[in-house]
């Protein structure tokens, strides 16, 4: 990575509590997740115990603590998506890829994240693969989608 954790932290004043969330966000934007090493380093820089940093980071939805797979799946858990069958999609993903929310598949190809409502309710149920939306998905469509991805991987 061209930018290091030290580089990012040095942009923020040492000991400034208010900068905590911004620092963590910038680290995640660059590395894709917050590693244990990052959390400890941030704690030292902002003069906070790493347990506190970890406690605050895990409180919020945005932060991840494990790297993503090559193809990161996001399934919307909004009300309309729920009514239109997002639970069935999650069961199917578990069946086909053997992963649940927050997990990465054994081959490192796929990771799953259940996200809060994306506000794309007219296209429910909504799945995004690396930010690209696939809408009006049914469980049957999923197998085809994953095969397509595997072929091109």
């Amino acid at each position: 990575m061209p930018v290091s954790i030290e580089d990012i932290c040095s942009k923020y004043k040492q000991g400034s509590r208010e900068a905590l969330l911004s620092v963590l966000q910038e680290i995640q934007d660059n590395f894709g997740y917050l590693s244990e090493e990052a959390i400890i380093y941030v704690g030292r820089h902002l003069k906070l115990p790493s347990s506190k940093v970890y406690g605050i980071a895990t409180f919020y939805d945005q932060f991840r603590f494990a790297p993503k797979g090559r193809y990161h799946l996001q399934v919307c858990s909004g009300t309309t998506c729920h009514i239109e069958g997002s639970m069935a999609l999650l069961r199917e993903i578990d069946k086909l890829l053997k992963i649940k929310d927050g997990q990465v598949s054994r081959d490192g190809l796929f990771s799953l994240q259940v996200v809060n409502c994306m506000g794309a309710c007219s296209a429910a149920p909504v799945i995004a693969v690396n930010g690209e939306f696939h809408t009006l998905m049914s469980s049957a469509d999923l197998a085809g989608l994953f095969d397509e991805i595997r072929k091109n991987a």
């Binding site: 509590r17 919020y60 909004g78 309309t80």
Partner: protein
């Protein structure tokens, strides 16, 4: 002179309003009321992008490049009709703007081929924006007369989907920021508070607190520094009103913030925005930069003696951040955990200074009120709820999207007149208003008016404006379980009634909607005990929680039990889910006449619940059936149904 110089000297600093023909002509061009070359507008709000508008945009760009047409392409926000997206409008010089719906990338070429040759395409036409300045297209309906738009009263969404959110010149040409400067130069901050008071504006985030009163409290507090915070932490599932405003008309919000900051005496404003609102963040940052270029932010703005800085804080995401004190904690780098009130933020808030926190929609109403006067606003709506409200109608309605209506409109009108009723000709069952903090409203209550008092009296809440429409295939018990799952996940954990109570309710509902393969007498007893505790539990959570999240957490449960008690009892005593949603409570049944005895289902059944001989009708043993549905999927003869 260029647009910026022109606007600053002739419009923003002019003592006399622009009435000169040259100026109004140029302004009309900036607003695209008059165009010299074709303009294509692509609805590129997040809902449009999800529907494929990014590909539509690429197709449009490719088209004008290949055909060598000198045309402008503008990415606009969401006009509100999300279920018809992607939307593409075409404005040819002299002709009125014509709007096309469901424009996938594949149909861009044929639509543009037709329209550039003066032919109205046969399909995909939504309507046209009729105006006296332009020649209309024959046979195309006036878009304002479509049922979806006809009954709306658009103040907050006035420009969304129409104007260019990325050009401040467009906004200023529509009268933007002139109201802000009028306040700075002609009104004291006290007077601005009075005007908002008189208008009757109430907090649109759900609380309904009188905005003028909140501003005045902070205005009167004595402090060396005050803050204004815009609460854009929209995380209600199914609510995206605030996002549409920020993406589609960010300057409207910014002007509202500027006026509010002036009224309160805040020299620093924060916009607290959710991290996943990428496009909103981009458009907002762009808009703020443009404000700076035009001198509308900084020190001594337009020589008025007023200072203002606006910062965007990106929230790492938590539903509880919508609570004022939690939001303040989050900006200060802590966990978003609510603190007891008093002290109220207006007296002691962010960094312990007087802070006014207003919702995006509340602030977006402010420029209108200051521009047209408080009577223009309080003449709309009901006795206690003035103005309009934006609702996000989603779920099983025929049209899905955002609508803005006058307060006092009935739910029936909203769902059946505007949103077109239930799709696929199904039966209406209930509508959930106010998201996970709200209540479900059944058919017999559809005549309820949307205004704060009417809804509260009926045991419901306005909430931020999310409305999820449900049909006969929705299981109410499952919906309550879904909301409780959301709430107990989002509970900050500080107080026991909310932390433990929401989890306990969720557990009880899990028990109700599940059927373990064998249930001992003890387990049945536990199940019933849980059910009997539900109502008492709901009361305790409501009365003893620290913040709004906990206090409103029992609402979905209480309202569902009140209106759909029979459905609950069916789940509990008959162990049956009439909507067929609770998988484990489904019992499958083989129709003897249709079964050919192919043994496909028999082989696949995970619990060996199917018995039968080859070529003889099979039979499902009810006690062994776990409702997984594999037999249903596998049967080629449609012989299996849910009992």
């Amino acid at each position: 002179m260029n647009d910026q110089e022109f606007l600053i000297t002739e419009v923003l600093t002019a003592k006399v309003p622009a009435a000169d023909r040259q100026i109004t002509g140029r302004l009309a061009e900036m607003r695209h009321d008059r165009v010299n070359r074709p303009v294509l507008y692509i609805g590129a709000g997040t809902c449009g992008l999800v529907a494929g508008a990014d590909r539509t945009l690429e197709a449009a760009k490719l088209y004008i490049r290949e055909k060598n047409i000198d045309a402008e392409i503008i990415e606009v926000g969401c006009i509100g009709l999300c279920s018809a997206e992607p939307l593409m409008d075409v404005q040819l010089p002299g002709k009125s703007r014509i709007s096309f719906c469901n424009v996938d990338a594949s149909v861009v070429e044929s639509i543009l081929d037709d329209i550039f040759n003066g032919i109205v395409p046969a399909d995909h036409v939504l309507g046209q924006f009729v105006s006296p300045l332009h020649e209309g297209w024959t046979g195309v309906e006036d878009i304002i007369l479509l049922p979806f738009f006809r009954y709306q009263h658009r103040i907050v969404l006035a420009n969304c989907g129409k104007s260019d959110p990325q050009r401040i010149a467009d906004y200023i040409a529509r009268g933007g920021y002139q109201t802000f400067l009028k306040c700075l130069n002609n009104y004291t901050s006290e007077k601005v508070c009075d005007i908002i008071d008189e208008s009757g504006l109430r907090g649109r985030g759900g609380g309904g607190y009188p905005t003028g009163k909140k501003w005045r409290t902070a205005h009167n507090a004595i402090s060396d520094q005050k803050y204004l915070v815009c609460n854009a932490a929209e995380s209600d599932p199914g609510a995206f009103m605030d996002r549409a405003v920020i993406e589609g008309d960010p300057h409207l919000l910014l002007e509202g913030i500027a006026i509010a900051a002036y009224a309160v005496g805040a020299t620093r404003a924060y916009i607290y925005l959710m991290a996943d609102y990428h496009l909103a963040l981009k458009n907002l940052r762009n808009a703020i930069a443009q404000m700076k270029e035009y001198g509308l932010l900084g020190y001594n703005i337009y020589k008025s003696g007023t200072d203002l800085q606006i910062n965007v804080v990106v929230s790492p995401g938590a539903f509880v951040c919508g609570e004022e004190t939690a939001l303040i904690g989050s900006i200060q780098g802590k966990r978003a955990m609510p603190t007891p009130k008093p002290p109220y933020p207006a007296i002691e808030g962010l960094f312990k200074k007087p802070t006014v926190i207003n919702n995006v929609e509340t602030l977006a109403n402010v420029p209108y009120i200051l521009r047209h006067g408080p009577q223009a606003f309080n003449s709309i709506g009901t006795a206690n709820s003035k103005g309009t409200k934006v609702f996000a109608i989603t779920g099983k309605s025929a049209s899905i999207g955002l609508v803005e209506v006058a307060m006092g409109t009935t739910l029936k009108d909203l769902i059946f007149r505007i949103a077109g009723g239930i799709k696929d000709d199904k039966q209406f069952k209930a509508v959930q208003i106010g998201g996970p903090s709200g209540s479900c409203v059944p058919e017999k209550q559809l005549d309820l008016q949307v205004d704060y008092e009417s809804l509260w009296e009926a045991g419901a809440i306005m909430g931020s404006g999310g409305m999820v429409v449900m049909d006969e295939n929705t299981c109410m018990v499952d919906m309550v379980k879904y909301f409780m799952d959301f709430l107990q996940e989002e509970s900050c954990g500080k107080c026991i009634p909310c932390r433990e109570g929401t989890r306990r309710i969720h557990e009880i509902l899990e028990n109700i909607t599940r059927r373990p393969p064998s249930e001992s007498g003890h387990e049945v007893l536990e199940r019933f005990k849980g059910i009997m505790q539900l109502e008492g539990l709901a009361e305790v959570i409501r009365d003893t929680s620290l913040c709004g999240l906990g206090q409103t957490a029992p609402n979905p449960l209480v309202s569902a039990m009140k209106w759909f008690r029979d459905e609950f009892e069916e789940h509990i005593f008959d162990r049956r889910c009439r909507a067929g949603v609770c998988k484990e409570l489904r019992v499958f049944y083989i129709e003897v006449e249709k079964c050919t005895g192919c043994v496909a289902c028999l082989r696949k059944c995970p619990t060996n619940a199917i018995v039968g001989q080859p070529r003889q009708p099979h039979f499902i043993i009810e006690e062994k059936c776990i409702g997984c549905g594999i037999c249903f999927d596998v049967c080629k003869f449609v012989a299996i149904t849910i009992k």
